[in-house]
């Protein structure tokens, strides 16, 4: 006969408000096999855990059910409490009577009955629980960082400085990300490139960092401590080891009229190019879609002029396998474009703003390139249509953001600050110019942020108009901005020379595809989900994968750097041990009944199932059975549901345990 203990938590009032916890405990005490039941105000508190430990010792309990919050919240807490009381931690189960009961039902009677049912189910289950011993697996002390923006660089440098090997993978030909595109940064107005480019060089020169630029993640296998990453290194058509970065190829390339996407298509670049002068690595790449040689087979100028003979037109994509123990995802963001509606996006587009057809309506990042000293205009504010200096510039905030009817309900967080910065940069460069800002609110939480915003309004004389813009249209060489000023309750019309839209921050295109490869979850906007909004802000629910920067949600540079360092610290914590304990939720094969049909091998997503030969003492083959490698098994249990002879069992989720729960209904 089992000796089960049931502990019903009040969770302050969170549970006891709608669930009669005393009644639940009393009913639990009557269940067969339950030898102790009680209720307590806060089970997760220190006295609550002591109560559990004491009861285990005093009543000789061989199983424990804690009826409290979700096991996703506190299963670890109570299992370790059970463990310190001398009980196998896997003999401790949680009955979720908070998230699944007290918080979602108002009727006290119904909620109490449901809570009792949930407890009874878990009591039935815990009786069938087996003692399990955690599996130890070796940890590969190498980290993968995906994304070479400021987040990825920071995380890579931190981990590398701690003495671990880091593989940094960047999709573009150069690391640097968006920060390399910015002109100056709020709230200090220090030049972005001046603080970014040294970090880029540090990352590239660090002895512990392997850099794969112009590369993408092809596939991800394995699990925490033991990932196998396949990286697709796209063909640069330039042999990196030979290239000296002299730049003659770019200078001599006859095809020079390709819009430069780094400059938001304001400038032009040749077909063989480095995206920007400070690029790291300073190795060019041939844009095959626009290269005359690749299009017509004639040209080959770059190959002729290249001294070291680094040009290789026949180069192909190569696949590199990197074993790593942890992954930091830092894929960053992109700005929502009003011109086109992205495929499958919930966003509806901005027809009233001309759908991006008005040349002097640009986004914030384009303005950064205009203001940047290394930008296409050399830092002069000149409008794209005719290259004239704009005397009236209208900035529109919250374009796409905080607009539920447009498809995005969140605040993009950085726009209030960067628009204030833009008005200042503009004023510093065009002294007689006037900046207008249409805004909903000025959101300036952050150290020295509000002071910075006030400076824009009070000292730099930007005119802030509280209200929304309804329409933009071209009139002669002006862009007419029709909006409202809700402070005075009037319609406003401004004939602007240039309009800058602070468009919404969105995750990178393809963020969902990468998430599927990594097996991490993401929200409806494709921002990656952290394991817990407050207590695990950098961890993914998938063990061994961490998040840094704007791929998790809109973030400014200080927040991004903090999160990147936090993710690095998590990786270092993991690498501090040479072996890792894994939950022993793995499948096991009953060799006596297995007939080696190996359906399990067909359905196993991890390739954990192998054939095993059973031999007698003379070494003669008796028969073949399936064998599950516990180090590779992910614990999904698909094999068990598939097995026709019921010879596979997933520890922790055995048929006996599940059936016991169903029987108790």
């Amino acid at each position: 006969m089992s000796r089960i203990g049931v502990f019903v938590c009040h969770c302050g009032e969170n549970i006891s408000r709608t669930v009669d916890v005393e009644k639940v405990a009393a009913e639990a005490a009557r269940l067969p096999g339950v030898s102790y039941a009680c209720d307590y105000k806060y089970m997760c508190s220190d006295p609550g855990q002591s109560l559990l430990k004491k009861a285990v010792a005093e009543h000789g309990l061989d199983g424990v059910v804690v009826a409290a919050c979700s096991p996703r919240m506190h299963e670890k807490t109570f299992r370790s409490a059970a463990k310190s009381a001398g009980l196998n931690p896997f003999l401790c189960e949680m009955a979720n009577i908070r998230e699944h009961c007290s918080w979602v039902h108002e009727d006290r009677e119904e909620a109490t009955a449901k809570a009792s049912d949930i407890v009874a189910m878990m009591v039935a289950r815990v009786k069938k629980d087996k003692r399990l011993v955690p599996i130890t697996v070796p940890v590969t002390k190498r980290a993968l960082v995906i994304g070479g923006g400021i987040a990825g660089i920071q995380a890579a440098l931190d981990i590398a400085d701690a003495g671990h090997q880091v593989v940094l993978v960047e999709r573009e030909p150069s690391i640097g990300g968006h920060m390399a595109q910015l002109s100056e940064t709020f709230p200090t107005l220090d030049c972005s490139q001046c603080i970014m480019t040294p970090r880029m060089v540090d990352a590239a020169n660090h002895p512990n960092i392997t850099l794969h630029t112009y590369s993408e993640i092809e596939s991800v296998d394995g699990y925490i401590g033991n990932f196998q990453i396949t990286v697709r290194k796209k063909a640069r058509s330039v042999i990196e080891e030979r290239c000296t970065g002299c730049g003659i190829c770019s200078a001599k390339c006859p095809q020079k009229k390709i819009p430069n996407s780094f400059d938001k298509n304001l400038g032009l670049r040749p077909a063989i190019y480095v995206p920007f002068p400070q690029a790291v690595p300073n190795t060019p790449v041939i844009d095959r879609a626009n290269c005359t040689y690749f299009r017509s087979g004639k040209c080959g100028v770059c190959q002729k002029v290249c001294g070291p003979g680094a040009i290789d037109y026949g180069q192909e994509d190569s696949l590199i396998v990197e074993p790593v123990g942890a992954i930091v995802v830092a894929t960053g963001f992109e700005l929502y474009s009003i011109s086109e509606k992205p495929k499958g996006s919930p966003i509806k587009g901005y027809g009233e703003f001309g759908h991006g057809t008005i040349p002097d309506v640009i986004d914030g990042l384009t303005f950064e390139r205009l203001a940047s000293a290394s930008g296409p205009t050399g830092g002069k504010i000149l409008r794209p249509s005719d290259g004239k200096e704009p005397k009236q510039v209208v900035f529109v905030q919250c374009v796409g953001s905080r607009a539920r009817e447009k498809g995005i309900s969140y605040c993009s967080k950085i726009c209030c600050m960067y628009t204030a910065k833009h008005t200042m940069l503009y004023r510093h460069k065009v002294h007689d110019g006037q900046a207008y800002v249409f805004f909903m609110d000025a959101r300036t939480p952050g150290k020295n942020y509000d002071e910075f915003w006030r400076r824009a309004v009070e000292e730099e004389e930007a005119v802030y108009i509280r209200g929304m813009v309804s329409r933009l249209y071209q009139k002669g060489d002006k862009v007419v901005v029709m909006g409202s000023d809700i402070a005075v309750g009037l319609q406003v019309e401004i004939e602007a020379d240039l309009v800058v839209l602070a468009t919404a921050v969105q995750p990178r295109t393809g963020a969902d595809t990468l998430a599927q490869k990594l097996g991490i979850s993401y929200d409806r906007y494709n921002f990656y989900s952290e394991a817990h909004a407050k207590l695990k802000p950098v961890e993914c629910a998938t063990a061994g994968i961490y998040l840094a920067g704007a791929c998790q949600g809109p973030k400014d540079i200080p927040d991004t750097v903090s999160q990147a360092s936090a993710a690095a610290a998590k990786v270092m914590t993991l690498f501090a041990k040479s072996e890792l304990e894994r939950e022993p939720i793995v499948a096991k094969v009953n060799e006596r009944t297995c007939v080696a049909c190996l359906y399990c091998r067909k359905v196993c997503p991890y390739g954990a199932v192998e054939e095993k030969e059973l031999r007698d003492r003379q070494g003669n083959l008796i028969r073949v059975v399936a064998y599950v490698n516990p180090g590779v098994c992910g614990g999904c249990g698909t094999c068990q549901a598939t097995c026709p002879s019921k010879s596979v069992e997933l520890d922790g989720y055995t048929d006996e345990q599940i059936m016991a729960m169903i029987e108790s209904l």
Binding site: S70, P71, R72, N96, R98, E99, H100, C101, W103, V104, H105, E106, D107, E110, A111, A113, K114, D117, I118, M121, A515, Q516, G519, S521, D523, R524, S529, A541, T542, I585, V603, P605, Y606, G634, G635, C636, G637, T638, Q640, A641, T642, L650, Y653, D655, I658, M659, M661, I662, E663, L665
Partner: protein, 167 residues
């Protein structure tokens, strides 16, 4: 705030088989968001919908469930890469089998509810509860169990006779 709640003559029992990564987390989110839904559902947690054996569904019906919900991650979002695809294929076949033996398929619902879809969990559970409530109890399987339950005895005349006939 607490509106008057309608009392029904029949309250169905719903068993939900869910995966821990998406739907269980989605149901947790419904809780943290304090959304309200009928209290008829009892959740059984699995690592993955791929682990769910159709036998569990039959057993749930036998043990008094009037409706069964199976829910996991959206296709392509499975924590274990492909478990939900196996589940989908398995249940597509299983549904036809249930249909063949005369189970009203309205009692069985499959859905995808992600960890971010607390609202969808509420919708799915509420809809199924209301539908099954309208259909009334499902006694067929329960009776079946009582009738055909094997006593466990092995020395009955019937078994002996069957044994003799084995050539």
């Amino acid at each position: 705030m607490h509106g008057h709640k309608e009392k029904h003559a029949f309250e169905p029992k719903i068993v939900a088989f869910v995966c821990t990564w998406c739907t269980y987390a989605g149901a947790d989110l419904a809780g943290t968001s304090r959304l309200q839904y009928p209290a008829n559902t009892r959740v059984v947690k699995f690592p993955c919908t791929g682990r769910i054996d159709p036998v569990f569904i039959l057993r749930a019906f036998q043990k008094g469930a009037d409706g069964v919900l199976v829910s996991g991650c959206h296709p392509g979002d499975c924590h274990y890469m492909a478990g939900n695809f196996h589940a989908r294929r398995r249940f597509a076949a299983f549904r036809q089998l249930l249909d063949f033996i005369g189970v009203d398929l309205n009692r069985l619902q499959f859905s995808w509810v992600s960890a971010a879809e607390g609202g969808k969990w509420v919708e799915v559970v509420t809809e199924l509860t209301e539908r099954v409530r309208a259909m009334g109890p499902m006694p067929e399987f329960r009776e079946l169990e009582a009738e055909e339950c094997w006593s466990g005895a092995i020395d009955t005349p019937e078994l002996k006779e069957a044994y003799e006939t084995i050539p």
